[in-house]
C-alpha cells in the first residue's frame, strides 16, 4: 500500500518536473486550503468546512468587489459544481456530461470534455454534476450513466473508465468523487428507481474497484439486515443514494458520508423497519470500506428526507472537554452534533419549523408526533420534501465556532400509495402538494454547534439552494433564490454586499483562491461562472 502510494506520488512529481505543473499529492489534500492558489477538494478541505484562510477581501472592502469575467457554458442545464482550482486553472463539471478546464485569469476555455450520454438513462433530476476530484495529474468524474472516469488534467482525455452499475435499471451518479490516499471514493444515486445504493472506492491508478459498502443492508449484515422486512427482497431496491461528497478524518482513517432516502420514497408498508443504512451518516474505514459506526437520523423515512448533506468535521468544547464531532444540518429539519469517535448524538435541535418529531430522544431516536405518516388522503408535515436544507453545502468557521447553512421554511401535504415496482421505472409510491396556506421562505442561518441554537439569520423572500463559503476575514458568502450572491459579516449577519448574477446558485457555493496577488471569489450560477476580485487600486490589509 505505502509503496503504491509513493509510486503514485513520485510518478506525479516526476511528470510535474517535466511540465512545470505541480501535481496534487495526498499530502496536498490533507493540507486542504493551506496553499492559497489551490482549491483541491469539494469542501475545500477534508473537514468539509468551506472556510478559506484568505483575508484580502474583508468586511470593510467587500463592497468594492467587481466582476472580472464571466464564463458561459453554452450548453443546456445549470452548474451544480464546486470547481477545483490549481495554480491559475479552474476545472469544472457541468450538465449533460460536460466539463472544462478554464483559464482563471481570463475565463477562457483551455479544454472541454463532453461525454456522449445514452438516451435511455433513468434520471429523477436531469444530468447535473457536482464536481471533480483531483489526484496526481488526473481528474475524476462520476457520470450520469453511472461510470467513474479518470481524465488527464492537461487535456481532458480519458485515462480509464470504470462502470459503477447498470444505468439501464436506474443507477446514476452526480456526486463529486473524494480522493483519499491512493483511492477515489464515489457513491451511486437512483433511489427513485428502486436501486440498492452503495459507496465504492477505486484504485486511482488502475480504475479497479477496491471496496464497496452497501448503504442498504442485506440479510447477511448482523446489524442492518434486521431493519428490513424478513424473508423479503425489499432491501434489493431499498434506495440509499449518495448525492453529496463525504468528508475524511486522517487520524481515524475514516470517511463520513450521508446516505439517501429508502425506496420507495413515501409508501411505508413496502419496507417495514428502520431501513438501515438509509438516511444515516456512516463512518467507513477508508482502506477497506468497513463500517465503524452509523447514526440514523430518520429511521424508516417516509418523507424523502435524504441525509446526503455534508458531514462537517470539527472539534468542539463540550462540558469542558474537546470532542471530535460531526456537525450535520439535516433535511429532516434538525441540526445534530455527533461524537465522531462513537457516533453518539451530543446535541440535536430543530433549525427550521419541524412538525413530525417532538425532539431527538436520549437514545438518539426522534420522538415522533402523531399524524405524519403519508397516506392517500394526504398529511401535512413540515418541512417539505426539499427539507430544512438539502444538497447545498454548509460552511463552518472554526474560529468563531459558527456553522452556516441555507435553511428552508416549508411545509407540504404528503401522499402515499402502493405502486408496483418495475425495473427502470420511477418508483416513489407517492408525492407531495403544497398547502394553500403556506408561505415558503428561505434564510441564511448561523448555528452554534455546541448548543444547536440559531445565533442569527438573514431572511430571503423565497427558498434558496445555494451553498455557503466563509473566509478568515470574517465574511460569509451565500446565494439567495433570486440570483443574488451576497456577503455578510459572519459574526452578526449584517449584509455587506450583493450582486445580481441573473441565475440563482443551485447546490453550488463560492470558492476563493489567490492568483497574481489578488483574491478571487468564483461563483457558478445557472450556466455561468463569474469571477470577482477587488479593483487593483483598493487598499488591502
Amino acid at each position: 500500500m505505502r509503496a503504491l502510494l509513493l509510486a503514485i506520488v513520485f510518478g506525479s512529481v516526476a511528470l510535474a518536473a517535466q511540465t512545470g505543473t505541480p501535481p496534487v499529492t495526498p499530502q496536498d489534500l490533507t493540507d486542504g486550503l493551506k496553499d492559497p492558489g489551490k482549491w483541491l477538494l469539494n469542501g475545500g478541505d477534508y473537514n468539509g468546512h468551506r472556510h478559506s484562510p484568505l483575508t484580502q477581501i474583508t468586511p470593510s472592502n467587500v463592497g468594492q468587489l467587481t466582476a472580472q469575467w464571466t464564463f458561459q457554458t453554452g450548453t443546456l442545464g445549470n452548474f451544480q459544481t464546486t470547481p477545483i482550482v490549481i495554480d491559475g486553472v479552474i476545472y469544472a463539471t457541468g450538465f449533460g456530461g460536460n466539463a472544462w478546464a478554464i483559464d482563471a485569469r481570463s475565463g477562457r476555455t483551455i479544454w472541454r470534455y463532453r461525454r456522449t450520454l445514452p438516451e435511455d438513462m433513468h434520471l429523477c433530476c436531469g444530468t447535473p454534476n457536482r464536481g471533480f476530484a483531483a489526484l496526481g495529474d488526473r481528474l475524476f468524474l462520476a457520470t450520469a450513466d453511472a461510470h467513474l472516469l479518470a481524465l488527464d488534467m492537461k487535456t481532458g482525455g480519458i485515462i480509464w473508465d470504470a462502470e459503477l452499475a447498470d444505468y439501464k435499471v436506474g443507477y446514476s451518479a452526480t456526486v463529486a468523487p473524494l480522493a483519499v490516499k491512493d483511492k477515489i471514493i464515489v457513491g451511486i444515486a437512483g433511489a427513485e428507481f428502486g436501486i440498492r445504493g452503495f459507496i465504492d472506492a477505486y484504485d486511482a491508478q488502475t480504475g479497479k474497484r477496491a471496496w464497496r459498502f452497501y448503504t442498504v443492508a442485506g440479510p447477511e449484515d448482523p446489524v442492518g439486515g434486521k431493519s428490513w422486512p424478513p424473508n423479503s427482497d425489499a432491501y434489493a431496491r431499498g434506495g440509499g443514494s449518495i448525492w453529496v461528497t463525504g468528508t475524511y478524518d486522517p487520524q481515524q482513517n475514516l470517511v463520513f458520508y450521508g446516505t439517501g432516502n429508502p425506496g420507495p420514497d413515501y409508501y411505508s408498508n413496502a419496507r417495514e423497519g428502520d431501513n438501515l443504512y438509509t438516511t444515516s451518516v456512516v463512518a467507513l474505514d477508508a482502506d477497506t470500506g468497513q463500517r465503524k459506526w452509523h447514526y440514523q437520523f430518520t429511521p424508516h423515512d417516509v418523507h424523502d428526507w435524504d441525509s446526503t448533506q455534508v458531514p462537517v468535521l470539527g472539534e468542539l468544547p463540550i462540558n469542558g472537554q474537546t470532542r471530535k464531532v460531526v456537525m450535520f444540518a439535516n433535511r429532516n429539519g434538525f441540526f445534530y452534533t455527533i461524537d465522531r469517535v462513537t457516533g453518539k448524538v451530543i446535541v440535536a435541535k430543530p433549525f427550521v419549523e419541524t412538525t413530525w418529531a417532538k425532539e431527538i430522544g436520549p437514545d438518539g431516536r426522534p420522538v415522533l408526533l402523531p399524524g405524519h405518516l403519508p397516506d392517500e388522503e394526504g398529511t401535512k408535515t413540515c418541512p417539505d420534501l426539499g427539507g430544512g436544507t438539502n444538497f447545498m453545502s454548509p460552511s463552518y468557521d472554526p474560529t468563531s465556532r459558527l456553522f452556516f447553512v441555507t435553511a428552508r421554511e416549508t411545509c407540504a401535504v404528503y401522499f402515499a400509495f402502493d405502486q408496483k415496482f418495475k425495473p427502470g421505472e420511477q418508483w416513489e409510491s407517492g408525492g407531495t402538494s403544497r398547502p394553500r396556506d403556506q408561505k415558503n421562505f428561505g434564510a441564511l442561518r448561523a448555528i452554534d454547534p455546541v448548543t444547536a441554537t440559531v445565533k442569527w439569520e438573514f431572511r430571503y423572500p423565497t427558498v434558496s439552494s445555494s451553498g455557503v463559503l466563509t473566509t478568515a476575514s470574517g465574511l460569509v458568502f451565500a446565494g439567495d433564490g433570486t440570483g443574488n450572491i451576497m456577503a455578510f459579516e459572519s459574526r452578526t449577519g449584517r449584509s455587506l454586499w450583493h450582486y445580481q448574477l441573473g441565475a440563482s446558485m443551485s447546490s453550488t457555493a463560492g470558492t476563493t483562491y489567490m492568483l497574481d496577488g489578488r483574491q478571487y471569489l468564483l461563483v457558478p450560477a445557472g450556466s455561468m461562472m463569474t469571477a470577482f476580485a477587488l479593483p487593483r487600486n483598493v487598499s488591502q490589509p
Binding site: 443546456l76 436531469g126 446526503t308 401522499f415 400509495f417 420511477q426 423572500p461 445580481q500
Partner: protein, 273 residues
C-alpha cells in the same frame, strides 16, 4: 432528492434531442395509437385507487382534491361533456399552452390510471350547467372589469389577461374570484404598498422581489423597480387590488352572465405560438 431540480430542462433537452434526431424518417412511420383508446384500467377498482393517489399528488393543487376545480377547470364537468379520453390523454401529456397546465413526462400507464380515476368521479354528470347571457356578460365586463383586465389585446394590464380564462378557470373558481378576490391572489398580482423616504405611498401589484429590491406595476400601470434601502417600508397587503363584487354591486343574475362571458373566453393568445 427527487423533484428538487426543475424538470423544465429535461423537457427542453428532450425536445432538442428530438430535433437533433431529425423527423424525416419518423414522419413516414404510421402514428402510434393513442394509449387511451384501449385503457385497461377503466372501471378497475384497484386502478382507480392508484389513479386517485397519483391525481392527488400531481393534479389536485390546481384542479382540487375532488377534481371539481380550483384554480384549474372542473374536470368532472369537462368529462361529463363530450371530451374523449384520447384528447384528455394528449392534454395531460402535452399541457395547455398559455395556461398554468404543464405537460407530463410520466409513463403512459400512469396517465391511464389517472384517467381511470377521473372517469370514475365524473360518471355522474355535473349538476352545474353553463348558463348566462354572454352578451350581457360582455357588457358588464366592458363597464366594470376592462379597466384592469385585458381580453384579446384590449383593456387594462393591472390584473391578469383573461383572453383564455375560459380554459384556465372553473366556473366555481371564477365566481369565487369575483365575489372574494382576496381569498387567493395570483402570483405576480399580490398587492403591495411602497412607502418612500418622503412618505409618498405607491400601491401596485408585486412582479418580483429579492432581499434588496422589489419590482411592481403601480395602479397607473407604471412598471418600476425600487431598491429597498431607498424605501421607508414595504407593506404586503392582504387585500387584492380587485374590488369585492358582492351581491349589492353585482347581482346573482349579472354574476351568472359575467361568468358565462368569461367561460366563453377561449381565444388564441398572440403571445403563444
Amino acid at each position: 432528492m427527487s423533484r428538487m431540480i426543475s424538470k423544465v430542462w429535461l423537457t427542453i433537452a428532450g425536445l432538442a434531442t428530438c430535433l437533433a434526431a431529425g423527423g424525416a424518417a419518423r414522419a413516414q412511420e404510421p402514428p402510434a395509437p393513442n394509449p387511451a383508446k384501449n385503457n385497461p384500467h377503466l372501471g378497475n377498482k384497484e386502478s382507480i385507487r392508484s389513479g386517485m393517489a397519483m391525481y392527488r399528488v400531481r393534479c389536485a393543487d390546481c384542479h382540487g382534491l375532488d377534481a371539481k376545480g380550483y384554480r384549474g377547470p372542473d374536470l368532472t364537468a369537462l368529462l361529463a361533456g363530450d371530451y374523449p379520453d384520447e384528447r384528455l390523454f394528449n392534454t395531460i401529456r402535452k399541457g395547455v399552452p398559455g395556461t398554468d397546465m404543464p405537460g407530463s413526462q410520466s409513463a403512459d400507464d400512469e396517465l391511464l390510471l389517472i384517467i381511470s380515476y377521473l372517469r370514475d368521479v365524473s360518471a355522474v354528470p355535473a349538476t352545474e350547467a353553463v348558463t348566462g347571457n354572454v352578451q350581457n356578460g360582455a357588457r358588464l365586463f366592458a363597464a366594470q372589469c376592462a379597466s384592469c383586465h385585458r381580453v384579446a389585446g384590449r383593456g387594462g394590464r393591472l390584473g391578469p389577461d383573461l383572453t383564455r380564462i375560459g380554459n384556465a378557470r372553473s366556473r366555481a373558481a371564477l365566481v369565487r374570484e369575483i365575489r372574494t378576490p382576496s381569498e387567493w391572489m395570483a402570483p405576480n398580482y399580490e398587492t403591495v404598498t411602497l412607502v418612500l423616504k418622503d412618505g409618498q405611498r405607491i400601491r401596485g401589484t408585486k412582479k418580483n422581489e429579492d432581499a434588496f429590491s422589489i419590482q411592481i406595476m403601480d395602479t397607473r400601470e407604471r412598471i418600476q423597480g425600487y431598491l429597498k434601502p431607498d424605501l421607508k417600508e414595504v407593506i404586503y397587503e392582504k387585500e387584492s387590488l380587485m374590488p369585492v363584487f358582492g351581491p349589492s354591486r353585482l347581482t346573482d343574475g349579472d354574476l351568472n352572465d359575467l361568468v358565462g362571458y368569461l367561460s366563453s373566453l377561449r381565444g388564441s393568445d398572440v403571445s403563444v405560438r
